[in-house]
Symmetry: C2
Subunit: 413 residues, 2 copies
């Protein structure tokens, strides 16, 4: 990987540099998470905006020069990334809003980006199997991308995991191990098994490469906006990895001179679970919190990548905001009815926070803003039903229909 200098420990008291081997995990000296460092001077000599625009590759592999993969590594089969970005007027109080719909990824979430990258790194490490502990989008995207690439996947879930969430995993042929215990037991057993069997670990808490897959959503935003960085990007925040990744993407392209600024990041968490936002506003360390929100993908009381996220918010001169479950469901409805995009609760939390920030005057109505929708609403139809409201009931005749529509002031055209 000529374009990667090394991986470096993000602990400012350590800063150990290591070679970017495919199976690096945490810092061997202090146990902190690592970060990939690129050789931007080399990259400047190898790629420019015109070359990217001329790429016929309509997936996130158009940015393979900005990902820590070997030149010779084949891209896995599924079409990940290069998701659509839609422009809308007069939504959530903004004169213009850009919606980046990452629910259009093959298994339905942004997590297909890191999972597809993980499959490549597993192959580079010589492993034919990947593993993680998760019930959510990380697991389903890993299982799907592994299946497509001919790798085995081993997914550890706690016994309380809803059966519906397991369906996608099992259909993708994953070996799903339902651990009779809580999430901590599950994680611990997965770590032991990964160590024993030599499976490749897809764990955002320890694998420094995953964030490099996630960041491609920011690279796409730059290119899809004609290389004009937006003023703001709104992101739903759980463990903080996606927010940190979005920053890294803009950082890369700023270093390359492809954009002239890094957008301000809006970190949106749930009022029932906001340890990262709390730490940022109050200073000090991240303190664990309860996980009281229906937006399950961002219900993370003990964020494992909080430091990177905190730095990203600060470095971008960003903003933190929390939203209630009701505000999340309202955003789901507004997004669907105005944009034809169906997002899952955690996927639209960023949009809900954006609406609030605009209403409170923290973001101006004429600023250029992108909201990333991180997951597809079909992943969680139960909560969508809560948001959706009731249909109109009518007897099967026109008189009844006219009365029912009339009662609601619906004129029909």
């Amino acid at each position: 990987m000529r374009h990667v200098r090394h991986v470096v420990c993000i602990n400012t008291n350590c800063r150990l540099e290591e070679p970017p081997k495919p199976n690096v995990t945490l810092c061997p000296k202090c146990g902190t998470v690592l970060d990939v460092v690129y050789d931007y001077e080399y990259l400047k000599s190898a790629v420019d905006r015109d070359a990217l625009e001329a790429s016929g590759e309509r997936s996130f592999w158009r940015y393979r020069q900005f990902m820590p993969v070997e030149d010779t590594s084949p891209a896995p089969p599924l079409r990940v990334g290069w998701t659509p970005m839609y422009k809308r007027h007069n939504v959530v109080g903004l004169s213009t809003l850009f919606i980046k719909d990452d629910g259009q990824n093959p298994t339905g979430s942004l997590k297909d980006r890191p999972s597809a990258l993980c499959v490549v790194k597993a192959r580079e490490a010589g492993s034919g199997s990947v593993a993680c502990a998760s019930t959510g989008n990380a697991a389903s995207s890993l299982a799907g991308n592994a299946a497509a690439a001919g790798l085995k996947s081993f997914i550890f879930v706690p016994e309380r995991a809803p059966k519906g969430k397991l369906a996608q995993l099992l259909i993708f042929g994953a070996t799903v191990i339902c651990v009779r215990g809580d999430y901590q037991d599950t994680f611990k057993l997965s770590a032991e098994a990964i160590s024993k069997y030599g499976w490749y670990s897809r764990n955002a808490a320890i694998n420094p490469y995953l964030v490099e897959g996630k960041k491609t959503v920011a690279l796409e935003i730059c290119e899809q906006l004609g290389w004009q960085a937006p003023d703001w990007v709104a992101v739903s925040v759980g463990d903080g990895c996606t927010l940190a990744a979005v920053y890294k993407g803009f950082y890369d392209f700023r270093q390359m001179g492809f954009i002239d600024k890094i957008p301000r990041l809006l970190s949106v968490q749930a009022t029932g679970c906001f340890p990262i936002n709390k730490a940022l506003r109050e200073g000090g360390d991240i303190v664990p919190m309860a996980e009281n929100t229906l937006a399950d993908s961002i219900a993370v009381g003990v964020p494992r990548n909080g430091t990177k996220a905190l730095r990203a918010i600060q470095a971008s001169n960003g903003l933190t905001i929390e939203v209630t479950d009701e505000e999340i469901l309202a955003a789901m409805r507004e997004l669907g009815a105005t944009c034809g995009v169906f997002g899952e609760p955690a996927g639209v939390a960023g949009l809900a926070g954006l609406k609030k920030a605009v209403a409170q005057g923290q973001i101006g109505q004429d600023e250029k803003v992108v909201a990333i929708i991180t997951g597809n609403g079909l992943k969680d139809t139960a909560n969508a039903l809560t948001a959706a409201g009731e249909p109109i009931s009518s007897a099967p005749d026109m008189d009844s229909l006219l009365k029912e529509l009339g009662n609601r002031g619906i004129k029909g055209l």
Copy 2:
């Protein structure tokens, strides 16, 4: 529409030709469905394969010259079509199989193609509202594409419609009218209301333009295979519209000289509901059947476009086959585990039939075959769970895990 000659009644005893107005429905003389006729000589002077390949449009609008829309009509916002096609070896008994994953459309099904076209025709007709009677993919795709384009949608559903299916409609801001009656009552009330209010009708039984949107899946197959028509295309068949549309797409490109043959079509229906296949094999008219299959999108006992479908199977020298629900669920698992693609039951029925036809020697293992996956598995996780099987249960320690994996012969790598 310089490229469209007229619409023609498909009744061979009628053959009435009409001007292609945006709101034409059935033949005004005999009540039969109409077909759009193109001016291929004009089209040959206007477009060739190189021009299509050079198109930067990565949606089904790259084929707008082959759709009955005015040159000046803007394309609606959602990214519909240009879905991925994956190549796999040694799946369902074929040495090479091509999977066209139309579940990757914005609302999760092939129906986004006709629904997006419907939105354009509604605008051309001067209507700000669209309507249909459906609980399935036709309705959700119409609601989503209408919302994105700023049109109102009115969806009529029978009261027995599962609540989960209504969620997506309501999120897209559709006015959903739940009719206290059966599907016939619902359809009748929708027709009356459409007539009274002047809504634009999205009803595949009467609107001749919808098939012209659906056919684009075949156009994409041609281009994605480098203009080599496959030997076979396997299609799940319910009301017959999609099968007829696939034929029409290949027919168009054959007329243009873009491909040198029309592939043979494999018409796959459920053993619990196969009126089209039955009529083809036994001759004579289509006789209504019960609807006994879990693949709800193809559970159509009274197909409304059966004639077009029958002609398509015959004209392509095609084949009919039926599959059990168990075979459908098995195909869902095989597709997921080998390709990383999650299809809904009706969406994978074509693949299940293909497997059966190969096993029976009706399709050779080295023939070039495309299976179209018409809908996303996330649309129906209940049936996916039935297909998926059970996870492995383990106590939270390595000894238990080793025992459980060992019992199943799982070695881990």
